[in-house]
Amino acid sequence: MTTPATGAHAHAGSHGHEPGHHETSFFHKYLWSTDHKMIAMQYLFTGAALALIGGYLAYVFRMQLAFPGHVVPGYGLVTPNRYNSLVTIHGSIMIFWVAMPVLVAAFGNFLIPLMIGCDDMVFPRINRLSYQIFLLSALILLSSFLVKGGAFGGAWTSYPPLSAKGIYNLSPLGSTLWLVAVALEFVAFLLGGLNFIVTTMNGRAPGMRMWDIPVVVWMIVIASVLFMASVGPLIAGAIMLLFDQRLGTGFFDPGRGGDPLLWQHLFWFFGHPEVYVVLLPALGIVAEIITVFARKKLFGYRTILYTTWATGVLSFVVWAHHQFIAGIDPRMANVFTITTLLISVPITEMIFVYIATLYGGSIQFTTPMLWALSFIAEFLIGGVTGIFLGASGADIYFHDTYFVVAHFHYTFFPSAIIGMFAGLTFWYPKMFGRMLNETLGKIHFWGTIIAFNMIFLPLFITGAAGDQRRIYDYALFPEQMRPELQHLRQLSTVGVMILMTFQVFFLVNFFWSLKHGKRAGENPWLSNTLEWTVPSPPPHGNFAELPTVYRGPYEYATPGRKEDYWPQNAPITPLEEGAL
C-alpha cells in the first residue's frame, strides 16, 4: 500500500490540474472552477458581500433604536414587523453566511492544501458543489425580503410555535424560505467539512506528522468535526419544523402532542458547538500570526491542541445554558451550570498559551499582528462576561437582555470580523501577490477597534439596566425610558456609523493594492509554513514539486541557525546537523 499522501496526490492529478493548461473562459475560471483557491475566493467575496448587507441591516435597526419612529436615511420607516425581520436576518446572515463561509470555508479552502503540501482538495468537485449550494442558500435567504409578508422575523433561533405558524409570525413564506436556506447552508458546510477532514488526514506532504500540522489547519479540522457531529439533530429539527409549517404536522405543537421545547434542544445542541466552529478557525489564524511576528515558537503547541479537543468535547454538553429559564426542569440547570463553567478551563488555558507565546519574542506591530493581538484583548472580555450567563442564578436576570447581546458580540466580532481581517491582511500577499498598504491598514484597524468597543460596551450597561432584546421601541417600558439609557443607545448607534465609515479604508486599500501594491514575492513575512514556499499567488496545482516536510511549523529563532526562521520543507544541511 502507498502512503496516504501519495494516494491523494495521484488522485488529484488525475483530473487535469497540471499547471499550464490555462486557456479557460471567464465562466470556467471564476464560476465553475474546482481549484481550491478559486473556491476560497468565491466564499470570501460572497461572505464579504453578505457582511456588508448584514452590516446595513444593523445600521437600520440601530438607527431605529437611537431615534425611534424617525425615518432612517437609506431605508425608510422601520415598522415593528420590519424591525423583527431586520434583527432576525442580521443574526442569521452574520453567523451562517458570513462567519462560516469566511472563517471556515474561505480560509479552510485556501490554506489547507497549501499548508499541508497538497495540490488541491481531495474531492474538488464536491468542493465546487459545496459553494454552489451555499450561494443558492444565500440567494434564497435574500429573496425572502421580497415575498409577501416579508422576511422571517422570529429571531435567528426560530423558536416554534411562532416560527411554525403563519398566523403567529405573519410571514409564512418568509419563515419557510429562512428554514430552507439554513438547511441548504448546512448541507454546503457538511460537504465542505468532509473535504477539509479527508484532505488533512490523507493529503499531507511526505514527512508531515500529525504534530507538524499548522495550528490553523488543526483548528479548521476540529471545527469541521464539531460542525458535522452537531448539525445532524438540527437538520432533522429543520425538516420537522418545515413539515409543521407546510404539511400541518404537530411536532412542536403542544395541542397535538408535540413540544416546543424539543426544537430548543435540537437547535442549541447544534447552536453551542457552532460558537466554537466559528471561534476555532479565528484562534488558529491568530496562532499563525503571533508566531510569525513575535518570531517565537508557540508556547506549547500540544497544549493548544489538547485544550482545543477538550473544548470541543465539552461544547457538546453545555447547550441547555441557553434554556435555563425556558421551562426545562430547574434541576437540569445545576448540571449545565457546572459543565458550562468548566469549559472556561481549557479556553483560558488556550488564551494563556497565546499570551505566553509573546514572552521572549521580538514583536513587530504590523497590521496583521495588531489584528491578532486585538483578538486576544477583545475576546477576553467576551469570555469573562460569559461567566455571568453560564452561572444559572445570575442568568435569571441577564437572560435575553442586551448584556447577552454585548457578550456574544464580544465573542463573535473578534472571531468573525477581527479574525477575518487578521487572516486577510496576513495572507493577502499570498492570495493576490501584492502587499497591502500599512498606513491605510492601521487607520482601518484603529477605526474599527475603537468603533467596535463604542458599539458594545454601552450595551453591557443598558443590559444590566434591564433593556430586553428585540424591542423596536421602549416607549411602553417606563423603566427603560430613562434618558441616560437612551444616550447609551445613541452612543452605540454612532459607533455603528463610525465602524461602517472606516470600512471604506479597507475597501480602498484592498482594491488599490491589487494593482499598485508592492510585489510580495514568495515569503514576505519570513514564515515557515509551506504556503510561503510557492509563488504568490500560487499557480494551479500549487507546488511545482511536492514538498517534503522535515519539522514543525513554528521553528523561529532556533539556536544555531543564521536565519531566525526555518521553513518546514528546508532539508537539514550537513553543516547544520553538526551545529545542532
Partner: protein, 246 residues
C-alpha cells in the same frame, strides 16, 4: 452593584445582585491580570535592535507551570462561582416557599392578563378578579404564579424582582416572588413573540395590604360587576373584569 442600574424589589433580588457582584469581582480581577500581562509583554518584547528572540517551546518542565498553575486557579474560581450560583438558582427556581397567595398569569400575542382570587381568597370562584396589563399584589407576601401561554412562547420578566420565566403553551409553569417595596414596576416580555413583541408591556403594582384591600373592594363593587359581567354559567365568565386602560 446592580442596584445602581436597576432597583431591587423582591426578597431574592439581593441574593442575585450579590452573586453578580461576586462574579464581577472574580472575573474582573482575572480580566485585568490577563490584559496587563498581554500589554506588558507587548511593550517589553517589542522589536528592538540587538535583542534576539528566545527559543522557548513551552513544553519544558519548569515552563509548564505557567499554564498549569493558572489552570488550577481557574478551576478554583469556577467552584467559588458554581456553588453560590446553584444555591441562588435553587432558592429562586427550584424550591418554592409555601404560597400565601396564588395568581395566574396568562400571556398571549400581545398582552398580559391576570387572574387572582377575589375577596373569598379562592381561585376559580365567581368573584375572581381578572385584569389585563396590570397585576396588583401585596408587599411582603409570598405569591405563587401559574404561568401559561395561549399561543406562542413568551417570557414573564419583572426586572426589579430579578424574575424571568418563559411561558410555554401547553404547560403551566409555577414560580414565586415576594415583593419588598411598594410601587409600580415594569413587566416585560423577553421572548420574541411576533410583531407586537415590543408592545407587550405590563405593570405590576406592589401595594400595602390596606391599599390592596381598597383596590380589591373597588374592582369587586357590584356596580362595576353589573356593568361588565353579563350572566353566564361558568365561573370564569362571571368573574369581574377590571379593564385597565393605559
Amino acid at each position: 452593584m446592580l442596584e445602581r442600574f436597576a432597583t431591587g424589589a423582591s426578597t431574592y433580588a439581593p441574593s442575585i445582585d450579590h452573586l453578580i457582584l461576586l462574579i464581577a469581582v472574580i472575573v474582573g480581577f482575572w480580566l485585568i491580570v490577563a490584559e496587563i500581562a498581554l500589554f506588558w509583554l507587548m511593550a517589553r518584547f517589542r522589536r528592538r535592535d540587538g535583542h534576539a528572540p528566545q527559543y522557548v517551546t513551552g513544553e519544558e518542565k519548569h515552563l509548564t507551570k505557567w499554564v498549569t498553575i493558572p489552570h488550577f486557579l481557574v478551576i478554583a474560581c469556577d467552584l467559588v462561582i458554581i456553588v453560590p450560583a446553584i444555591l441562588v438558582w435553587m432558592n429562586v427556581k427550584q424550591t418554592l416557599p409555601p404560597a400565601q397567595e396564588t395568581v395566574r398569569v396568562f400571556s398571549q400575542q400581545w398582552a398580559w392578563s391576570f387572574q387572582q382570587p377575589g375577596p373569598d381568597g379562592i381561585l376559580d370562584t365567581a368573584d375572581d378578579i381578572r385584569t389585563v396589563g396590570e397585576l396588583h399584589v401585596k408587599e411582603n407576601t409570598v405569591y405563587h404564579f401559574e404561568l401559561r401561554s395561549r399561543d406562542v412562547l413568551h417570557s414573564f420578566s419583572v426586572p426589579v424582582f430579578r424574575l424571568k420565566q418563559d411561558a410555554v403553551p401547553g404547560r403551566t409553569i409555577v414560580g414565586w416572588f415576594k415583593a419588598t417595596r411598594t410601587g409600580t414596576f415594569d413587566i416585560q416580555c423577553t421572548q420574541m413573540c411576533g410583531m407586537g413583541h415590543g408592545l407587550m408591556a405590563g405593570r405590576i403594582v406592589v401595594e400595602t395590604p390596606q391599599q390592596h384591600a381598597a383596590w380589591m373592594k373597588r374592582v369587586s363593587s357590584p356596580a362595576l360587576a353589573a356593568s361588565v359581567a353579563p350572566s353566564s354559567d361558568t365561573a370564569a365568565d362571571n368573574s369581574k373584569i377590571a379593564e385597565v386602560s393605559r
